[in-house]
Subunit: 340 residues, 4 copies
């Protein structure tokens, strides 16, 4: 069986494993105060062009979203996202567990529309009863989105402008940031993205690490005592070095981006093959997640040799997801293409 | 420098690292639904003598305590612990973040006294205003305790009996369970401990793993949808295999206990040397954490070559903690003894 | 100025005030354990035809919704409502403050459609990733709704049936229950409503009392220690007699329903006048809240003598709300009609 | 039966009832935006000597404590109180429900010792692991305390100084503020108290009102959007005029203090009689709550004609509470004294 099930079903990139081996016998202080974390932070700040950024390492995505959002909101505020936003759907209410409402806007292939955001904010403050409602306190978008799509630089700039005009911080969930920045046609660089938001994270779990998300407060604007807030959320790893070593390796010599580009290239090759063979794509994704509409017969045939997820029915067809990663080989893709 | 700073400042046991290497290229379903987790669960159930136990893998201790306690309490209930309990001191309010009060009893070298627990519960229900107060909903103890001490089988039995008579579940924080069960003079076996409590965990992070805690609901009594509760708490690892592989390795052929015994033996050798050289121990610990009272001169001298924590002053002396682990070598201990 | 601003801008019904006077010097135990509360509970149970119902008195609506919903949900569950539901809009995130997500369905003039509810529940459990999502735990509807509409007995029956088939409790927010049950064309009786739901409340604040909502768990199914949960939510009134006296008066000899019918009759007279004079109603409300579309000139003219709320623009017109209550006089309505 | 059970078992002061009568037919905007609330706020600011103070009306004490403390704390902070503090004992975990830990100091007849507070704060920041703990975020004291005791001006000044030196706001729970300020030997004035703290409340429920607590942020320092926070906590009364009218009446011409002084004088007369007849007082209370140690025979005898609470046993005796209020008559006290 060849798996296109997800980008988190392999172990970790071999460079990380090698590094874990080399460092295993060294002793390091716990809780992220070790030299590996320090080194990884320097590399991340450099890659972002933000020498003053505050960087923290957390373990997983839901945890990171909940901790960052809770830390940045006041009790009477909620988080604005599109309806398909990960925090609104697949995090089991982690945001609400922290006491905050998820406020929703329409999703456009997973993306937020800056104009709709602006209108929502205008309408909110125009409503005479707004102080009986949940105030918007932060804007959350994903890059790449849950649908595999990305924002253009112009789109990101406009969303950022709207946020600024309402003094709302912009938070970018980068669980798949590598695949987003390396996407076909992406015109956003990491420093530009860091410029346009107040906090984002470089996702490790889905981009080559065993686990780990690197949160970057781009304007030296981490909430006071964020370390303690991480601990309170159960998100502080005792052996923080595990995260430091992984990110230090991924950020070394652009490995993070290299492996993401590899995955994207294979995904695009796959997408083009789908299209060439007459399949209809559910969305136009330039990243490592491809959504294609398949009929039952095709699904049954492909399932014999390939693993992939069936998301939801679209008419008589099923929207199926095929995901590549750093670990996907050209042979994997060739085999699938041959089977189409 | 030789470190006795903590039991979480090395990487992981070499057998785990080897296994991570061997399995790295295999593809596995996420979220703990993989074969490694399945295999580890079987071994844990066997070791506990509880073929029906519900087993889950979480990442760290604070997270595990908060998730389990929140899942088992009703909204109007709190958790009973001794004042020195980890949940009451060093978890940054993670229990209260989930909405629950930590109710405290006196600590006796880190241990709860069954008689005091019984009296507290009696007094609570005797108070005519008790329905204006926080109800006790679960009893939390640590094994080994934060002070390095352990409960005897008789003590554990009595606490368990009190809990049963008030229909309160008993939860044992086993962040250092290996060191507790392998402690000098311990008369408790893992199956006995599993019998006497409703839920406990086998700590991995401090006992040889890079991360991971294995929660065991001993009576097939996991709260409904505990998987979702884990996710809501941000405690569900995408690459759950990382935890499965580690516990499958640790539980293979008793490795978990072997490495704990190794650490305890070195700690006892160290303790005996402290005593032989005339130092006064702060507590009588039979486990891998030793607490000794040192004066400033001695501390200054030892700090040149050894890393250890200074906890708090006791009169003119300082209560210092020396911790051994699976990674501590006899040479480390010999060097320290020579320096005393 | 004649006010149609709301049904909570007068004091309380004179019968209540008289009763407060008569009882003022009597001494009564606090926290709702007094004889007035006991008497009011008996009358409420009788009116509902539920001699075993559990009855509690809380102070206000948001508080009641938050307390009841939080008490009836498990931590991983959310509450299902229509988008216009009070808990989703005008309660400042009180539900989320308690840790629960508000899950939304489309609103049809403020009402939930049983078919859509059934479909939502079917789709939820059909989604293979549902255990990463927030589980539905209770269904919340309002009677009358925020739009002034009501459910027919058949509609209520169908919603109740769907809830039963998914083992979900049905909670009816009755902040305006009197106006709902006395609405033009209402074919639901209080005992029928009590039969069809698991918990509801008789709203006092908007139906003649100074404050107070009477929560009725219709099947003797109050959550364990609901008294303590009320206290925890800050919703337990020290001088609970204030609530007991009010409800004992309102439930005496059908006063609650008489004054509601009075308000509805005046509202209907007003609505018919609007229509007769050619205005367009925003919704077809048979209750004490009337929504009519007015242009700016008309608004400016009416505002000189009348108080009413402007809700939101509909095209060039404004959706305006006119509310009657027990305190509205026929003269008030005649004056407004004359001014149209 | 003559009741000394509590200071909340009568209705409300007759002047309030009269005022409710007079104003009942007037129409007023909801949610505390009416003229009565406005007038009451002016009078409260004047009484405090704080023309810029922010004043809000909430319904009850537990609700007020939870709302104020939650609004003033950051998520990683807790509230410091003595062990007997109301928030630590008799509020069913309302503070923890909001996500915050209650941090405790020893109680000295219900009072906090400034030196112990200072030492606690010193020790907290001296602990190298403090960022794994719950940070102190506000200091909470009660005036009068749960034991009927009061702070001297000097004591209050010292506590205030310690708070300032650690930049911690000081919050005074004034559920029984009237009785405290009018206590025998009290050398604190309301303006002095307002000077020395950051927020306090004038309790209405126990001092003559039917319900209501007036929160005063003494330095124009109400948290942003405190109105919305009140709503979120379910503490916003729709008919806010009920609170405004009550406080406007109580603050008119010093009524609040007159009726408190009346209660205190009767309590002192009672206390002196207890002492003269050889009974032993549990605490030396100069306020309206008297605690006396009685044997079973005496209790049985007194219970035939008088209502009072038995708190807890002290040796063979029982600590019994006798409470006076604005509604207690000299005849009530004389009758009890005669029966001693």
């Amino acid at each position: 069986m060849i798996s296109f099930e997800s980008d988190y079903n392999n172990g970790c990139h071999e460079a990380i494993l090698k590094r874990l081996f080399e460092t295993n016998d060294e002793r390091a202080t716990g809780y992220g105060l070790d030299d590996y974390c320090a080194s990884a932070k320097v590399k991340i700040r450099q890659a972002c062009g933000k020498p003053d950024a505050d960087v923290f390492f957390l373990v997983g995505g839901t945890q990171t979203n909940a901790t960052v959002i809770d830390a940045m909101l006041k009790s009477y505020q909620g988080v604005l996202t599109v309806e398909t936003g990960h925090i609104n759907v697949h995090e089991s209410g982690a945001i609400e567990f922290g006491g905050h409402k998820v406020l929703t806007l329409p999703s456009h292939d997973g993306k937020m529309d800056a104009g709709e955001l602006d209108q929502w904010l205008h309408d909110f403050y125009a409503d005479p009863t707004y102080d009986h409602m949940v105030f918007p306190g932060i804007v959350y978008i994903t890059f790449a989105t849950e649908m595999g799509t990305i924002y253009s630089l112009a789109e990101l700039q406009t969303i950022s402008d709207v946020c600024k005009s309402y003094e709302l911080p912009l938070f970018i969930d980068g669980a798949r940031l590598g695949y987003g920045l390396m996407a076909e046609g992406c015109d956003v660089t990491l420093p530009q993205l860091a410029d346009l938001c107040d906090v984002f994270y470089l996702g490790g779990s889905k981009c080559g690490a065993y686990c780990g998300e690197a949160v970057v407060f781009t304007k030296h604007n981490a909430p006071a005592h964020f370390f303690t807030i991480i601990k309170q959320h159960g998100a502080l790893l005792a052996k923080g070095r595990l995260l430091g070593i992984q990110f230090d390796t991924l950020m070394h010599d652009g490995l993070y981006f290299k492996i993401a580009r590899h995955a994207v290239e294979l995904a695009i090759r796959l997408r083009d093959a789908f299209i060439a063979k007459g399949y209809k794509m559910y969305s136009n994704s330039p990243t490592n997640q491809q959504f294609v509409l398949l009929d039952k017969t095709t699904i049954a045939r492909l399932e014999k040799d390939f693993v992939f997820e069936q998301w939801f029915p679209v008419g008589d067809l099923m929207n199926c997801r095929f995901v590549t990663s750093w670990a996907t080989s050209p042979d994997d893709v060739d085999a699938l293409i041959a089977a189409l």
